[in-house]
């Protein structure tokens, strides 16, 4: 080790410090040690496995009715009992995760893509564009999702696609607002000025320069939104605007059975409700963990 062979006027450049973790490595490391995140992930993965493979391991066909055994309380051969058509509630709860776990994430992805693009544009351009679009978004956010859903269903008819579009578009403004505030901070940094001094186009500056630096808040917001999306999907199904029969969807099952709670047939509703609650809690735990990992 000698310093004499380095260029005359300058110190030898140091070897890049590869021992340190990359920022993403840091986040993964912190996630892997977060009890909150791991618990949430466990719950979420459980439901994902049910959605993907539930059909193969449930004891009964969730759609097969068996009128003779209708409304039997939980017992050894029907763990969660049966509903009014004699369908096995346990099988229905397990397989019922499928629709909600398709619709809610797709809606969230749609919201993220639309919201990110919108947020980048209004945050980057500021000025009149920002003023007008932000006011419109605020007005949009003031309308309850259910009203939007009603209007959309009248216009488009009931389908999973409608639910995805309705939830996606009503969540997009919220994500746009988060992205906008992150972009406002980024656009003041000198690398954006440096891009202008290369005559880079606005698209390049927004999507290649700024976007990679605002991924963390987007990721946090997306996981939080997923929890709300699950809740919204269940609500819409419950109200009959969402997923349609004969799907064993949770919200739908609660909707068609809740009249029977008064008759003492609690099991037809309770397990679906618990399923919704556990999934929302699981996703929120994941969101908490992700938030913590990025904001440590």
């Amino acid at each position: 080790m000698s310093a004499t062979d380095t260029p005359a006027s300058l110190p030898a450049p140091a070897a890049p410090d590869s021992a340190r973790r990359s920022p993403w490595g840091e986040v993964l490391h912190s996630l892997s040690r977060s009890g909150t995140f791991l618990t949430g992930l466990f719950i979420l993965l459980f439901w994902v496995v049910c959605a993907l493979f539930g059909q193969n391991f449930v004891p009964y066909d969730p759609l097969a009715s068996d009128i003779i055994n209708a409304l039997t309380p939980p017992a050894a051969d029907h763990w969660f009992g049966t509903d009014q058509l004699g369908r096995d509630v346990f099988s229905r709860v397990i397989v019922g995760s499928r629709d909600i776990l398709t619709v809610a994430p797709l809606a969230t992805i749609l919201a993220t893509i639309a919201g990110t693009a919108l947020g980048l544009v209004i945050g980057y351009f500021r000025g009149i564009v920002d003023d007008i679009v932000s006011r419109v978004l605020e007005a949009f956010m003031a309308i309850p999702v259910v009203i939007i859903a009603l209007l959309a269903i009248v216009a488009l008819g009931t389908s999973k696609i409608t639910v995805i579009v309705v939830i996606g578009l009503s969540f997009a403004p919220i994500i746009a607002r988060t992205v906008r505030s992150a972009v406002l901070a980024e656009r003041e940094l000198d690398y954006v000025a440096a891009a202008k001094l290369r005559h880079e186009g606005a698209l390049h500056t927004m999507f290649v320069e700024i976007l990679p630096n605002v991924i963390p808040p987007i990721l946090v917001e997306t996981t939080v939104r997923l929890g709300y999306a699950i809740f919204a999907v269940a609500t819409l199904s419950f109200m009959g605007f969402g997923i349609q029969p004969p799907s064993p969807d949770w919200g739908l099952s609660i909707s068609s059975n809740y009249g029977m709670i008064g008759g003492g047939f609690w099991w037809t509703v309770l397990f679906d409700a618990l399923a919704i609650a556990s999934l929302v809690i699981g996703v929120n735990l994941v969101a908490d963990g992700v938030h913590g990992a990025f904001n440590d």
Partner: protein, 679 residues
Amino acid sequence: MTEPSHAANSLELKDLSVAYRVGRRNRAVLRNVNLTIKAGEAYGLVGESGCGKSTVALSVVRYLPRNGSITGGSIALDGKDVMKLDSEALRRARADSVSMVYQDPGKALNPSLRIGRQLTEIFELSGITGQAATDKATAMLNRVRISDPVSVMQRYPHQLSGGMQQRVAIAMALANDPSMLILDEPTTGLDATVEAEVLDLIGQLRRELSASILFISHNLAVVSNMCDRVGVLYAGMLVEEGWTKDVFNDPRHPYTVALLRCLPRGGQRKDQGRLDTIPGFLPGIGANIVGCAFADRCALATERCRTEPPPLYDLGDGRLSRCHYHDNAQALPRTTPADVPAAPPKHAPPVLQVEGLNKTYASHGHPLRAVKDVSVSLRPGETLGLVGESGSGKTTFARLLLGLVAPDDGGSIELEGKKLAPRLASRTEDQVKAVQIVFQNPDSALNRSHSIRHILSRALKRLGGLSGKTLDTRLEELVRSVRLTDRHLAVKPRQLSGGLKQRVAIARAFAGDPRIVVCDEPTSALDVSVQAAILNLLADLQSRQDVSYIFISHDLGVVRYLSDKIAVLYLGRIMEFGPSEAVFSGPHHPYTEALLSAVPKLDRTESSRIRLDGEIPSAANPPTGCVFHTRCPRKIGAICETQEPQLTEAQPGHTIGCHIPYAELARLQAPKITAAEPA
């Protein structure tokens, strides 16, 4: 309160070792540091960042971060062992006998409490409440020379300037009449004029108070002015200690020798040789050091230095040096050639001609003239230094040139004889690549998501119009021209040190063969040895490529080293413009005179100091007449308040905007000039 028993030594560190736990391993940060500060003494601790200076301060008050621990040795404050104090006794010690002032006063004060509340709180802690506490707080503010303490007490921190905030922080630190005052880079973020003010204040307080001072700074000149004794820290070890005058005039450790040589001194200029640098890098924290820690970077090192750790040799009269060859330390050879071929004087037409440039912002409905009637010209291969306090419009001027901000109608910017459009978007590709910038903070200037290869390739593609093979070849050249290597290309900016990042930023600015590069405080975030290397690089690139620089810096020594011309700005107006030597040697504008006088000198040569009173006025409401008259120490009378002086040519190419005639300025400043320029 009981009278604290004053021991002879305010602070005594014995074999202090501190480690930080990183990645499940304890990494040594301080290694057996022995240090004694006598009662009433001011002790300076210097060294580059990462040497462990702040760790010393934090250990004294046992305020180390969570992963830090004291692994050996002892700390005695006023004779009491800090390590043995229980939490209550430690709290009392912190409240009664030791105080700390941090670098950033804005962060040390609570933004949502009034100054008065924050000050009285300290007295309430010792049982003084109500009016008595308010009175004491007012007295404290008077003590730190705040002229209107009653109104300052009513204000929030953000309503005070940086200098005032630091005074308040000092007042708070002194409130409990500590026996030990720790100042951790107390003037680093401040303007030179404000720094001078704060240092004067600390100097005066020293005479009034009995407190001992531990003064931590990377600025050797500041330490040399403030401290009785100085210790040089390197890789967590004290490598040299002694009386300030002795250490700086007759250093006995090669590290001290090298550190002192990195600074542009005595008006050194780029055509009189490159600055010396320190090759290599500081050992990382926790590095396993065999032999002398500095051996790898020391041109004097022998086999003995690499194998046998040098003890702290006692050289008598309080001098200590951790070097086997301390008698010979000053023989350290220079790492750069002492002289470089001077560029022949050019008579080329100017590359940049700025005429009557104005920029007015609207501030709460009032016009705010950030830049007013600025005219400068610059030849190829020359550097224009922009000098002035913060808020003087330096950065706005640079942004106008770059087109990032559009100027008011009327003025003109000509590049090589062709008019530049005011807005960047309407400039041609050639004009865009001709004017580039190196920003102050490379962390902000380099996109943290992109690799160095991406950053530079993109610049070469857009600015150089290159692609494919030619781009790769040029990339390699570019990287080599700023003395980086291929292996730096794959990494992200965060994996590089500050100096290396700044090289990437310089490479990017040079990607399209620019005619003018704006350097906005490019070295202010760097250590002196790295600063020297960057300044050398800029000087080399300039002599090779005939590029012109607009160089902005608050460090006048650095500006002087690199600049051929100087423009002194105050409130967006040019006060003085001329060849660098003429502006620095004088006679100069009273404002320039004050700026130069504020710079702490390493050799303590200043005789009469000029201090600017008060704040820089708001640009939204500038003073009438000469804008400088409210602070001018050489104000001559009513004419200064009513009539704005014109820039008049004092000598060919040297203009000064002052009512005092040039000959009179020369007479007034004459004794000062001889004092400021020792042979």
